[in-house]
Amino acid sequence: MDTFQQTQRTSLFERPGRAGRAAQRGKTNRLLSYAFLTLVGITMVIPFLWMISTSFKPKTEITRPNFFPVEATGANYTEVILDTELPRWYANSLVVAIMSTVSVAFFDTLSGYVFAKYDFPGKRIIFIIFLSSLMVPTEMLIIPWFIMSSNPITGGTWVDTYWGIAFPGMITATGIFLMRQFMQGVPDELLDAGRIDGVSEFGLFWRIAVPLSLPAIGALCIFNFLGNWNAFIWPLIVTTRSEMMTLPVGIQFFSTEAASDWNLIMTGATLSVVPLLIIVIIFQRYIIEGVALTGLKG
């Protein structure tokens, strides 16, 4: 559509000869663009294809240069699923990601709503303190968190528990900021009308503000889920027993131990990556637009 308008405009304002050349140049440029983009695209896809293809190779084939397996086998999958705790790591990752996502969805939305719709002493300073916590990198907090998690006097023994893995991400400053922006769009008249009708303050949030901001809450949930699913450094530190590891931590330990059994390592990687890729491909529009909208890093 835009291209059509452009060419039309060109022909209106420019002499025909120049317009023709410009159109010709545009076409060549577009061809070059496609060539470059395809090249980058291939670079993006090949590692995944290699990973999947190696996961179907028997061990004897991994040192051979062929891309596709000569004798494809599913034995790697049986071995990885039955002999490792990968199913358990999956479950752990799922539990932790869902736990923190539910908490973030509730508390970030509620806090965002309060910052957008209420006036109270200390509002500005509390908001600034919340946001400035973003400046402190996780890496600086992991050592104190570890001491807090393992010392029974200050915080109980959170090592090797779901709470221990999830607690740093139960409420996020980015989410609060995002939801505040969104909640500012909820009309005050609607809330005041609710107040006159005798709706409780929590009812106003739950029955008016939340239904109006479901798209934003959805985006928040997706990013939070992805972020927690792939989180690595804290789960690595707070889990010591194999049955409490999350998927990335489990994959790291399993791959280190498997040493040169690349067929098994690639099977583990495939199992950990492909289901998520399928989910992302299904919800791609929503996810990519959400990223563009919020600039949130997963």
Binding site: Q6, L110, P137, I147
Partner: protein, 301 residues
């Protein structure tokens, strides 16, 4: 029961709603931040009963190690700087090129966008192990390709000179799609009418890029530079997964500040010294962010 005015009741409810988040931020974010600063001034071994106050000794040790040519801490800081200085410009230039081209095409553009985005949502650990195999001598994909073109085999991860660029390439590869999406969002906000006007005035494509796209894209660029700089400063998982025993080798050639923190704190239990490292990292991140925001936002005018 006490009667409250509406305004007062609303204030009360605001505090009730925020009670848990305030407690959370106080205990999970602010207290540990202060705790980290405090630890950096102590000889903190979690296994010991007492933690001796040592003043700035941990920081003095850090400076001494940084001045020692063969210490891993020096290597960690220099490598981290190299990851940032090489990684940020390469990644952003590539992403900008891809975004500009994606912005021009209609057919298949959603498909390309998705393909570029996929690595970003996959686990860094899984990706790192896949590339570790691709980099293997003889049967690794890259060496197979080199061999197919009768080019000499490369050691990649096993030679100090090649290991850092090899790991860096993976990180650039994985984060590219994210930068592309953000650039695209920035490009979409530039009104088409500016380009039309420039075309009427006979501007070349380069001129309209230089004088329209680039200045109007500046906020996006600043945002990405700050974000990616911080991300590269915090490099950890790819190095842990792609080096033998996760040691940042060969010969400390790929180790990073965060990897040093991890090893000092959780393998040697020198938590005081590790905290001094994280405090330094925090200061660097803060400083760079402030400088970049100042410097780059002045460029807008």
């Amino acid at each position: 029961m006490m009667r409250l005015t509406l305004a007062r009741r609303k204030i009360l409810w605001a505090y009730i709603f925020l009670a848990i988040p305030i407690l959370f931020f106080a205990y999970i974010r602010i207290y540990p931040t202060i705790f980290a600063f405090q630890m950096s001034l102590h000889d903190y071994n979690p296994l010991a009963i007492e933690h001796k106050y040592v003043g700035l000794e941990n920081f003095q040790k850090l400076v001494a190690e940084f001045n020692n040519l063969r210490s891993p801490t020096r290597a960690a800081f220099l490598n981290t700087a190299a990851y940032v200085v090489l990684g940020v410009p390469i990644q952003l230039l590539l992403a900008l090129a891809v975004a500009l081209m994606l912005n021009e095409i209609r057919f298949l553009s959603t498909f390309y966008r998705l393909v570029f985005f996929l690595p970003f949502v996959t686990s860094t650990i899984a990706v790192a192990w896949v590339f570790r195999m691709l980099y293997q001598p003889q049967f690794g994909f890259f060496n197979v390709i080199l061999q197919a073109f009768s080019l000499p085999q490369q050691p990649f991860l096993s030679r100090p000179q090649q290991a850092l660029p090899s790991i860096l390439a993976v990180v650039i590869w994985q984060g590219l799609g994210y930068a592309v999406i953000i650039f695209l969002a920035g490009l979409k906000q530039i009104p088409q009418i500016f380009y039309d006007a420039a075309q009427v005035d006979g501007a070349t494509r380069w001129q309209s890029f230089r004088h329209i796209t680039l200045p109007l894209l500046n906020p996006t660029l600043v945002f990405l530079i700050v974000l990616q700089t911080i991300a590269f400063l915090r490099m950890f998982a790819p190095v842990l997964a792609m080096t033998a025993q996760g040691d940042g080798g060969p010969l400390n050639s790929t180790t990073t500040v965060v990897l040093r923190v991890y090893r000092e704190a959780f393998q040697s239990f020198n938590m005081g010294y590790a905290s001094a490292l994280t405090v330094t990292l925090f200061a660097i991140i803060l400083g760079i962010t402030i400088i970049q925001l100042r410097f780059t936002s002045r460029n807008i005018q």
